[in-house]
Amino acid sequence: MSVFPLPQSAAGGPIIDFDSAACCLEIEGLSLAYGETPALRELTLRVPRHRVTAFIGPSGCGKSTLLRALNRLHDLNDDVRLNGRICLEGQDIHAPEVEVAKLRRRVGMVFQAPNPFPMSIYDNVAFGLRLQGGIRKRQLDDIVEWALRSAALWDEVKDRLKSSAWALSGGQQQRLVIARTLAVRPEVLLLDEPASALDPISTLKIEELIRNLKSQLTLVLVTHNMQQAARVSDYTAFLQEGELVEYGATDTLFTNPRLARTENYITGRMA
């Protein structure tokens, strides 16, 4: 494991100085406000490719907002004002030539509560592919099986692909949602507290899955559970009140954070 130095960025916020070539997402000077209420302030950080990066922070710190900005889910909301740049593989995701639907296929997202659609397990996984169209049944079968295997769900559901997805347990539903997202072959997978509604065993399965998926894609994880961030992530960013307080290798951040704000948060102290 390499030791990364921790230089200060020009804006004053800490960044990890990855080589640009090792970065999947580059966020530069990102500010976001809901109407008059600022949610993110001048955020700059880089997300390395094929790694798990965790965003931690207290409720309302903007970590989910940041995550949703990464695949432009805020487009739905008229009140959101956004400044700064987010680049995916070097391209600004807000550039006019970028199609939102295509972007979201490249940057998949899994939400806090499992949200399978009210259809069969198979149809859930095939949903994204069918949107793209032009895929033969045989090919679709293969991709569905691959996605379910990747999400470590195949063995549990292979005999009931046609039954309703809502009959699965919470943990299975969440893995189904991950499979559904994987089926469209995203480059980045955003996970918004993917295990917060699950029991500990299901949580561990999801975490194991996250670790295994690292070889295929870049993962960004938002979590309230610091132990979870410590367990699965390679890099951790600590956000507070819309600001990036500290960003560093998880190895360092959880044993020796640089700043008192981080220390207080991760050790459960009063500020």
């Binding site: 639907a101 979201r104 998949g108 949903f127 949107l131 809502w166 009959a167």
Partner: protein
């Protein structure tokens, strides 16, 4: 909902559970009472009631069915109302008889009831059947009459069929088709021949008080001897009566006969209304909930829509008359049917305008139901679809709308229930007192949206208030009311079945 047979109502909570249960019980009781009243009064009408031969103190005799009894005003005993028929002899079909004056009652088996196209029913005895071929008397006359009536019924059906299916279209095409005239003459000759076989022949009848009457056979519809019928025979007769009520058109200014055109008109109008209101209401609901910016204006529109649901229905009738009938209909006539003016085609009330008016009336219901359905779809479902690269339209059509379908159908169910029972606006925009031809036939364009139509609700109103003899029409009012309830029930059950089917397709509710 109170589950009977489950847990007992807890005493500790005081009177509230009992009050709640009591109101539910009372509502159920009233509903059951209403339905059984309609069923008994309405359906009982078709039962061949026995004819009583009543002999009075003064030696007079009468044959009739006892309808009800009342106390005389000065407490001098009771009097009883008999339905005696024989309007042509007595000038009335009802007779009040003081119970004290009755000396004898019997049920002679040879008393007959004749159902006729004029003068209502005849009660009395059959003396003879006179036909060009000869005269049959006594008991043989009864059997001959039965056979002859069966033949006449067939002839009548054949005649009516020819008239409806051949003559009416021919007349319409008379101008375009030169061959039509010869064809028409040929068919007319056939109809006249049939008519000739129906007419000719008469019955010699005698009332129980000895007055004689010659009755032309062509006016006789049915004849039966209620006192001689066995219970199974009565049962069959009842079934036929109900069937005729459902399947035949009205007679004698709606005071007799069936209600088929009204059933058909009601159902067709409601279906048309559903076809119009569903897409409009659903689209409006989607716009308000999914597309529109959720600002003050949208909020105002939403309030307005909810308030529209409370506007009295007659106001919609006035609107329909002004806008649809005179406005749009008038313009349509000027543009497309100018050759038929001044007689209006669309510029008068009709099926189309009635359906549109009711669609407008029920639109708020569908919009509100759709909106509520949409609001119940969790945002996570929408975001899940978007995150997979769905556009907003794909998200709506593939995820949100299928989940909302049951709610939309609930809206349509409510709309149907309201529309089927609505009468007031229809009187302004197209319902007819009598339109025996249903608006669907074999002639292009098959559904005649401009025609006036009959409606069960209006039929009830018309029979109950505009007939010559309300007392006689009352059983028909009950029967029609029961039918209206049943029609609405069937329409609702269809929609509920559909909704259940949709829900089943989407599996169990989510666990979270």
């Amino acid at each position: 909902m109170i589950r009977l047979g489950r847990a007992r109502l807890p005493r500790v909570e005081g009177a509230l559970p009992w009050l709640a249960a009591g109101s539910v019980a009372l509502s159920l009781l009233m509903l059951a009472g209403l339905l059984s009243l309609l069923a008994v009064r309405g359906m009982g009408h078709f039962w061949p009631a026995p004819l009583t031969l009543v002999t009075l103190e003064n030696g007079h005799q009468l044959a009739g069915q006892a309808v009800r009894e009342e106390r005389l005003p000065n407490a001098a005993g009771r009097e009883r109302l008999y339905l005696t028929g024989n309007r042509d002899l007595d000038g009335a079909i009802w007779r009040w008889v003081a119970v004290d004056e009755i000396v004898a009652q019997s049920h002679p088996r040879d008393l007959v009831v004749l159902q006729r196209t004029r003068w209502g029913n005849f009660h009395g005895r059959l003396l003879a059947l006179e036909e060009p071929a000869g005269r049959v008397e006594g008991e043989a006359a009864w059997a001959a009459l039965q056979a002859r009536l069966k033949e006449i019924t067939l002839l009548r059906e054949e005649r009516d069929r020819l008239r409806d299916e051949v003559v009416v279209p021919l007349v319409r095409h008379l101008e375009q088709d030169p061959d039509a005239e010869t064809e028409l003459a040929r068919v007319s000759a056939r109809i006249r021949a049939l008519q000739a076989r129906i007419t000719g022949g008469s019955l010699l009848l005698e009332s129980v008080d000895g007055r004689r009457l010659e009755q032309p056979l062509e006016q006789v519809l049915r004849v039966w001897r209620p006192n001689a019928m066995s219970p199974p025979a009565k049962m069959v007769a009842w079934g036929r009566g109900v069937w005729r009520f459902l399947a035949e058109g009205p007679r004698a200014a709606n005071s007799a006969g069936g209600v088929w055109p009204a059933i058909f008109g009601t159902v067709l109008m409601v279906l048309l209304m559903s076809v119009v209101v569903t897409p409009f209401g659903v689209l409006a609901g989607i716009y308000l909930n999914e597309v529109a910016h959720q600002g003050r204006l949208t909020h105002l529109v939403r309030i307005a829509v909810r308030n529209l649901a409370g506007v009295p229905s007659i106001v919609y009738g006035v609107f329909g008359l002004g806008v649809f009938v005179y406005g749009i209909g008038g313009s349509l006539d000027e543009w497309f049917f100018a050759d038929q003016l001044p007689s209006p085609t669309f510029g008068t009330g009709g099926l189309l305008w009635a359906s549109l008016t009711l669609a407008l009336l029920t639109l708020p219901v569908v919009i509100v139901a759709t909106e509520e359905g949409l609001a119940r779809v969790p945002d996570t479902q929408r975001e899940g679809a978007l995150a997979l690269g769905a556009t907003r339209v794909e998200m709506l059509t593939r995820v949100v709308l299928p989940m909302t379908a049951p709610a939309m159908l609930t809206g349509v169910i409510l709309a149907v229930a309201r529309a089927a029972g609505e009468v007031a606006p229809l009187m302004l925009v197209g319902v007819a007192k009598l339109a025996p031809q249903v608006p669907v036939d074999g002639e292009f364009p098959y559904i005649h949206l401009e025609r006036k139509f009959m409606h069960l609700g209006y039929h009830i109103y018309d029979v109950a208030f505009h007939g010559d003899d309300v007392q006689a029409a009352l059983p028909l009012v009950y029967a029609t009311a029961l039918l209206l309830v049943l029609v609405i029930l069937v329409l609702n059950l269809t929609a509920i079945f559909l909704r259940h089917h949709l829900r089943a397709r989407h599996g169990a509710r989510p666990r979270h």
